[in-house]
């Protein structure tokens, strides 16, 4: 529980100040638009699911790879990350990183 929750809460707190990121853009790579069903593009009150927008591409890509390999524990993200190859992860990471204001 502690290992799972701490990174999540830390991320949520770090990102709590960001708001108003665009929900959608025309150049989103395959897979990116599904992410926002859980990872809000603008701040949602009381959500414990961290936002992705505004994080660096390297951070997002690394997180996805750690989930995919199982090196980091997760609930759904390990199962989801296994559906994406390196180039898909990199494209999604680069796109979300560019969505900050």
């Amino acid at each position: 529980m502690r290992r799972l929750l701490l990174p999540v809460l830390a991320s949520a707190l770090l990102l709590a100040g960001l708001a108003g990121a665009p929900a959608w853009a025309a150049d989103a790579p395959p897979g990116a638009s599904s992410c926002t069903g859980c990872h809000a593009t603008r701040q949602v009150a009381d959500s414990v699911i961290p936002q992705i927008t505004g994080r660096t591409a390297a951070d997002i890509a690394n997180t996805m790879r750690q989930y995919r390999s199982g090196a980091w524990p997760s609930s759904v993200m390990g199962r989801i990350a296994k559906g994406f190859d390196d180039s898909q992860i990199d494209a999604i990471a680069t796109w979300f990183a560019a969505q900050k204001e």
Binding site: M1, R2, L4, L5, G20, A21, P22, A23, W24, A25, A26, D27, A28, P30, G31, S33, S34, C35, T36, G37, C38, H39, A40, T41, R42, V44, A45, D46, S47, V48, I49, S75, V76, R79, I80, A81, K82, G83, F84, Q88, E101
Partner: protein, 420 residues
């Protein structure tokens, strides 16, 4: 505004879209979206966000949308029905034109939709997201009048409130009987989440009562997770009767609240009949539903394989491996909207990747999930091999509590994205 500014910046950099739009003469085109649930509303908003020059009209008769996800919590008095309800003000603010009336007929050849208020809408592309209708002809004895005695509560709203009232009025010791249909149907884990949360409530308020699930299937979504949790949390309260054990309900008698199988007659104190379903009625009229009652689509832009120019989203559509869920509907809508923008500009949409994640609550602090990743393969949306699956059977610490928290956050996020 942000989205528009960003879109303009992107397109200006690419030097493409404004030229294409003006070359078409009348801006970027007209899209009509029928159905204001998770699929249709998301599609309408995304279309407008991606291409502000589009005229996007959302046809939806209800002023207030009542969400099915989390509505099982209303039955167990964990939530109120108002927490399930969302208006369309945010959709209108996003530039979508609202037609608050029903679509009565689609003319695919003329590319127009007739409305109950007498108006007619012409379109370049039509998005159909009519959700489900109950197959009133499929279960002898179960018609619209019977649903007032034996609620389905499979469209959230008055039916949900009715079932909750019946549960609350039931005497302690009364038998709750649920029936679950064969596949496919809206929200595959939904009947079992509902059984779980009703059992949670019975355990507190009607501890002598039991719940019987009569099932037309031998297997169901997240089955081992549910059954393990029932044994742990609700021993002796929930009994599941599978198809091969004689669980298929073949008729009902609403006057006596009796559910009949080939082997037995089950008299209920409260009966929740989750009947066979089909795509919303307008789908049959539009000619986009096949003999199964559901709508076949291609897997890139979700265009009907029966009627060109019409895209079908959400529960009404046959989406290959993707289940009929709100998450899936929202994800499909975003992909479809981007594809429609491409098609209207004369470009070919790229193959999409989609995710589905469905949480179920077994108890307020006990969540379980199923996830999948999907891509077009041989003409259908297929599971990406090696990805997806359900929560682990064995967990440590607060894993289930954390998934319950994630479920709550997911609901807040997806309703904010769709209706906020």
């Amino acid at each position: 505004m942000t989205t528009r500014r960003r879109f303009l910046k992107l397109t200006a950099a690419a030097g493409l879209a404004p030229v294409v739009a003006s070359a078409q003469g009348q801006g970027a085109g007209r899209v009509v979206v029928v159905g204001g649930g998770f699929a249709g509303t998301t599609a309408a908003r995304t279309l407008k966000a991606l291409e502000p020059k589009l005229t996007v009209t959302l046809v939806e008769p209800n002023r207030i949308f009542t969400a099915c996800p989390f509505s099982n919590g209303v039955l167990a008095a964990l939530r109120e029905i108002g927490q399930q309800q969302f208006g369309y003000d945010g959709v209108a603010r996003a530039g979508v034109t609202l037609a608050q009336t029903s679509a009565t007929a689609v003319d695919a050849a003329a590319k127009s939709v007739a409305l109950a208020d007498g108006n007619k809408l012409s379109y370049d592309r039509l998005v159909m997201a009519p959700g489900i209708d109950i197959r009133w002809d499929a279960l002898p004895g179960y018609d619209e009048a019977a649903a007032e005695k034996m609620p389905h509560a499979w469209k959230a709203g008055p039916q949900t409130v009715l079932l909750r009232q019946q549960l609350q009025a039931m005497e302690d010791g009364g038998l709750v009987v649920m029936s679950a249909p064969a596949n496919p149907f809206r929200c595959p884990p939904g009947p079992y989440e509902r059984a779980s949360l009703i059992a949670y409530w019975l355990k507190i308020w009607k501890p002598k009562s039991k719940l019987l699930i009569l099932d037309a299937k031998d297997a169901f979504s997240k089955q081992r997770l549910f059954q393990n949790a029932w044994a742990q949390l609700y021993p002796g309260i929930i009994e599941w009767v599978s198809l091969s054990q004689g669980g298929k309900v073949t008729s009902v008698d609403p006057s006596t609240l009796t559910l009949v199988t080939d082997f037995a007659r089950h008299k209920a104190a409260v009966a929740n009949v989750i009947p066979p379903q089909k795509a919303g009625a307008i789908a049959q009229q539009a000619g986009i539903a096949d003999r199964t009652g559901w709508c076949p689509v291609e897997p890139v832009a979700f265009e009907s394989t029966l009627q060109p120019g019409i895209h079908v989203l959400g529960d009404a559509a046959i989406m290959g491996g993707m289940p009929k869920s709100a998450f899936a509907a929202n994800a499909q809508a975003k992909v479809c909207a981007a594809a429609i923008v491409e098609l209207l500009a004369g470009r070919k949409p790229v193959d999409p990747l989609l995710i589905n994640t469905c949480y179920s609550l077994v108890a307020p602090d006990y969540g379980i999930s199923i996830a999948g990743v999907y891509r077009p393969d041989k003409g259908v949306l297929a599971d990406v091999p090696g990805a997806g699956g359900v929560s682990p059977l064995e967990v440590v610490g607060g894993f289930r509590a954390q998934e319950a928290l994630f479920a709550d956050s997911w609901f807040k996020t997806i309703t904010a994205e769709t209706f906020g």
